[in-house]
């Protein structure tokens, strides 16, 4: 269990090394009621949209970023995740997700940790960036 007192400004969270598979994206599109094939699942449709190949849906990338934070802080700790989609994310390519603590404070009786979070590629691509707010318990 992670406590507020264990966290310091500048602490690094992760990295989480992962990749999106064709099957994972397809399952995600189905639960999302997004009609397939589409630019997330099909090479030809992606090319028509001027993409080199099928891409990972933005909200799926966001879900993977949330996973880094809930793995670190616990399931109920993530209060706010605000991301900007900067570049298309390809399938079957290494993805690194990492965050850095930028502030720790007490606010309205809650212990709040703020961090910057970034999803990057093996060639230095900055796919998705954002900020998160996490609430943590005090040490008993």
């Amino acid at each position: 269990m992670l406590y507020f007192e264990d966290v310091e400004l500048g602490d690094e969270i992760g990295p989480l090394e992962t990749e999106a598979t064709d099957d994972g994206v397809l399952a995600f599109c189905q639960v999302w009621n997004n009609r397939t094939p589409n630019r997330f699942t099909d090479q030809a449709i992606a090319e028509e949209a001027n993409l080199p190949g099928p891409i990972v849906p933005g909200i799926m990338s966001m879900g993977m970023m949330a996973r880094l934070l809930t793995d670190w802080a616990g399931a109920e700790a993530l209060k706010d995740l605000d991301v900007v989609f900067r570049q298309p994310v390809p399938h079957h390519k290494p993805i690194t997700i990492a965050a850095t603590v930028t502030d720790t404070r007490q606010e309205d009786g809650e212990n709040v940790v703020e961090c910057d979070i970034l999803m990057t590629g093996a060639e230095g691509e900055r796919y998705v960036g954002g900020k998160a707010i996490i609430a943590l318990p005090s040490k008993p």
């Binding site: 909200i59 879900g63 809930t70 399931a75 605000d82």
Partner: protein
């Protein structure tokens, strides 16, 4: 440079309602599989119940898949007098307020939050931001989701 931004400002203050959307165990499991989630409360009902939850729990950004079932009106954007259509999903924000579990029925209420121009190296872009509040069957707010879209002038 003056920015001539026209759109349907009467949309401010109007709520667009959608739902109810039933949250099922298989939806949550497929979402969790897509993001390679391993926390058992997000993948296994028995594990979630053993930790005091009603049922299998949705990961914190789960509501983002529901936003796409809300149909939002066209804001009639004109830039420098010319209509602008198309657009890209630019960003997303989720504020998680309360747990969502399988068996919940969620309703969505969406409104236009803001429209603003931004000028960068590649010219001027317009950001359109919608905000959707999700409530469960008890009327509890479970999440607020903001989506922003970019259109190029």
């Amino acid at each position: 440079m003056a920015t001539e931004l026209e759109y349907d400002r009467s949309l401010y203050g109007i709520e667009h309602d959608a739902g109810p959307f039933e949250v099922t165990e298989s939806q949550i499991q497929a979402f969790s599989r897509g993001i390679a989630e391993t926390n058992p409360i997000y993948t296994d009902a028995a594990a979630a119940k053993s930790q005091g939850f009603q049922d299998i729990v949705a990961p914190p950004t789960f509501c983002t898949i529901m936003v796409h079932r809300v149909s939002l009106p066209d804001i009639g954007l004109k830039f420098g007098g010319k209509p602008v259509t198309g657009g890209m999903h630019a960003g997303q924000r989720v504020q998680a307020r309360a747990p969502i579990t399988a068996g919940d029925h969620l309703t969505a209420s969406s409104h236009l939050k803001e429209v603003y121009p931004k000028t960068g190296r590649t010219g001027t872009m317009v950001f359109i931001v919608w905000e959707t509040t999700f409530r469960n069957q008890d009327g509890t707010v479970v999440a607020d989701v903001q989506e922003s879209f970019i259109r190029r002038g």
